[in-house]
């Protein structure tokens, strides 16, 4: 019995408890609304929509846009963060513009972006990249300026050129910060990819969610949400595996 309730299994049981509460509340009429279907109906709808080939292609489309946008935004964030960390003139030049752009909400950016980029992947990938860039940039910058001055001094003593210092000293030392930023960006990229499809999409899980909502198919909509949650969990878990592998030398990774 102790084994059943120990460690990570406790989290699983908590999820089961929540699902049971949801099922009971819908079945007994405690929450009476067509928008609150029983969990059993949600799982049935999910199985049906996966079986007839509707949901998985939509999910893959969203994951593709998320991955591309995340990659583009992360690379931009890392490069800018390192540049700004390595050279304070670059930092002084870019910081005001970046701090102005950072708090802009994505739903407000979508309409003008439609005018320039249309409704398809370029627009959606752009908003994901825009969102993903900032956490990575800020964390990379923080990592770059937090480096021990001794490291830079040693690099200068050995006559390593500026670019070499950037790639072989600053970047590896900032890597724990970079990965922290990447992990935050990953979650945000997922959210923004779906949100972009909900605002102005014609494909993907976001569009599917809104279509099902407006077709009055709450069970199908909740099923898609469930799949989204599972995919998000899987993506995050995969990232953590990569994180542990790359940063095995870093003390922080041992505590997780």
């Amino acid at each position: 019995m102790g084994w059943l309730l120990s460690g990570r299994r406790l989290g699983l049981w908590f999820v089961v408890l929540l699902l049971a509460a949801w099922e009971l509340s819908a079945r007994t009429g405690l929450v009476s609304s067509p928008n609150w279907p029983p969990v059993s109906a949600v799982f049935a709808a999910l199985g049906r929509e996966i079986g007839d080939g509707t949901l998985l292609p939509a999910m893959l489309g969203t994951l593709y846009r998320m991955a591309v946008g995340f990659s583009v935004g992360s690379i931009a964030g890392i490069l800018l963060g390192l540049l700004m960390g390595a050279n304070q003139w670059v930092r002084w030049m870019l910081e005001p513009t970046l701090e102005f752009l950072r708090p802009l909400p994505v739903p407000a950016l979508v309409p003008p972006l439609i005018l320039f980029l249309g409704l398809d992947d370029p627009m959606k990938i752009s908003i994901v990249a825009f969102t993903a860039m900032f956490p990575v940039l800020i964390n990379t910058l923080e990592g770059a300026i937090s480096i021990e001055p001794t490291y830079r001094a040693v690099a200068a003593t050995f006559g390593i050129p500026w670019l070499g210092t950037l790639c072989r000293v600053l970047f590896p030392a900032a890597l724990p910060y970079v990965f922290a930023g990447l992990r935050i960006s990953l979650g945000l990229s997922f959210v923004v990819a779906v949100a972009g499809e909900m605002i102005a999409g014609s494909s993907g899980v976001g569009y599917y969610l809104v279509s099902m909502q407006y077709a009055g198919r709450a069970a199908d909509m909740c099923g898609a949400l469930l799949l989204l949650g599972l995919c998000g969990y899987a993506v995050n878990w995969s990232f953590l595996c990569i994180d542990h592998r790359v940063l095995h030398w870093h003390a922080r990774s041992f505590s997780e």
């Binding site: 609304s33 067509p34 928008n35 309409p111 439609i114 005018l115 320039f116 980029l117 249309g118 409704l119 398809d120 909900m198 605002i199 102005a200 999409g201 014609s202 569009y207 809104v210 279509s211 099902m212 909502q213 407006y214 077709a215 009055g216 198919r217 709450a218």
Partner: protein, 332 residues
């Protein structure tokens, strides 16, 4: 080696002959495809778009040598933005969105009517729904109450204000909030709002799910703007100047589809088609209380009436030239 070469040669010749035959067979099809005009159309997957899908499924577009690529969009706003960005040749939107776009300098033109309302049900698409016993029967009963619409500054919002002001109330003293259609009945029954301007199929669903708790206070559009065009397919003037004949072909096919739709109302084939493109369950399609009126042309008078109402509530500063906004293909 000589045998191998002969074998290879004969296979090569056989392959060449087969390819030529296939090319010959495919040629008329390829020629036909290349002679068809390609049209990218943005549509909103609601019941109003029925005639468009009838035209697709019945082959009316193909008869007019049109290769129509339909892309669903979630609303008229994104559709018109994509139209302005030349991502679509035609885009569907409510007439209020088109008038607002035209007022902002976009050269949109209405090329076909999509849906209208008549002078009352069943030619209607929306209603003002209230709680039974909530005491709201007229606009004067809405003072100090909270009303919900799908989108502010759009058609349901406009009609709600017209109804309140024309039935003894003052719409400027009423709180109007945005609630998505699927959540409107929950908001009403949960006492979060006192009145909702709700469209089909959510209207029928709300009444079906709680017939003893909700009632219709008024028919939203037909009581305030009767015999009005609600939605249209639109193009830019720039596109019309270059490809007017394509739009006329689209309009001819569309009008045939409207006739077919009107003749086949209640036909299970039509209901299945609607269920397919809207993703609505077929039984919900069958139980709709009201339906949009499918029409073939746009009356400039109804457009003027809509524009005057929009001007009254500050959406438009000046009245547009309806004659200019309606392209030939959409005229009576």
């Amino acid at each position: 080696m000589r045998t191998l070469t002969r074998r290879l040669m004969s296979r090569f010749i056989a392959g060449g002959v087969a390819s030529s035959c296939l090319t010959g067979l495919a040629a008329p099809f390829v020629w036909a495809q290349s002679n068809m005009a390609k049209l990218r159309v943005g549509y909103v997957p609601v019941i109003d778009t029925t005639a468009f899908f009838v035209a697709q499924s019945q082959g009316f577009f193909k008869e007019e040598r049109l290769d129509v690529e339909a892309t669903p969009v979630l609303g008229g706003g994104p559709a018109l933005s994509a139209l302005a960005a030349a991502q679509f040749e035609l885009a569907m939107a409510t007439v209020t969105s088109v008038l607002l776009g035209a007022a902002q300098g976009f050269d949109f033109r209405i090329v076909t009517a999509v849906a209208a309302v008549g002078s009352g049900p069943p030619d209607e698409i929306a209603a003002l729904l209230v709680r039974k016993g909530g005491g709201i029967k007229r606009g004067s009963d809405c003072q100090g109450k909270r009303c919900a619409v799908q989108l502010l500054n759009n058609l349901p919002w406009l009609c709600l204000r017209l109804w309140i002001d024309s039935t003894g109330g003052s719409s400027s003293k009423v709180s109007i909030v945005e609630v998505p259609f699927p959540q409107m009945s929950d908001a009403l029954l949960g006492n979060r709002v006192d009145l909702v301007a709700i469209n089909e199929p959510f209207l029928s669903a709300a009444i079906r799910n709680a017939p003893d708790k909700v009632e219709i206070a008024a028919w939203s559009i037909s009581q305030t703007l009767p015999n009005t065009i609600v939605a249209s397919f639109n193009a830019t003037q720039e596109y019309l100047d270059k490809h007017g004949e394509v739009v006329h072909a689209f309009s001819r096919a569309y009008k045939k589809a409207v006739d077919w739709t009107v003749e086949n109302k209640g036909n299970p084939v039509l209901e299945e088609l609607i269920s397919k493109f809207t993703r609505l369950p077929a039984d919900q399609v069958r139980s709709l209380m009201v339906w949009p009126k499918f029409v073939k042309s746009v009356d400039p008078v109804s457009l003027d009436t809509m524009a005057r109402a929009m001007q009254r509530y500050g959406l438009l500063k000046s009245l547009p030239d309806s004659a200019l906004l309606i392209y030939d293909s959409a005229r009576i």
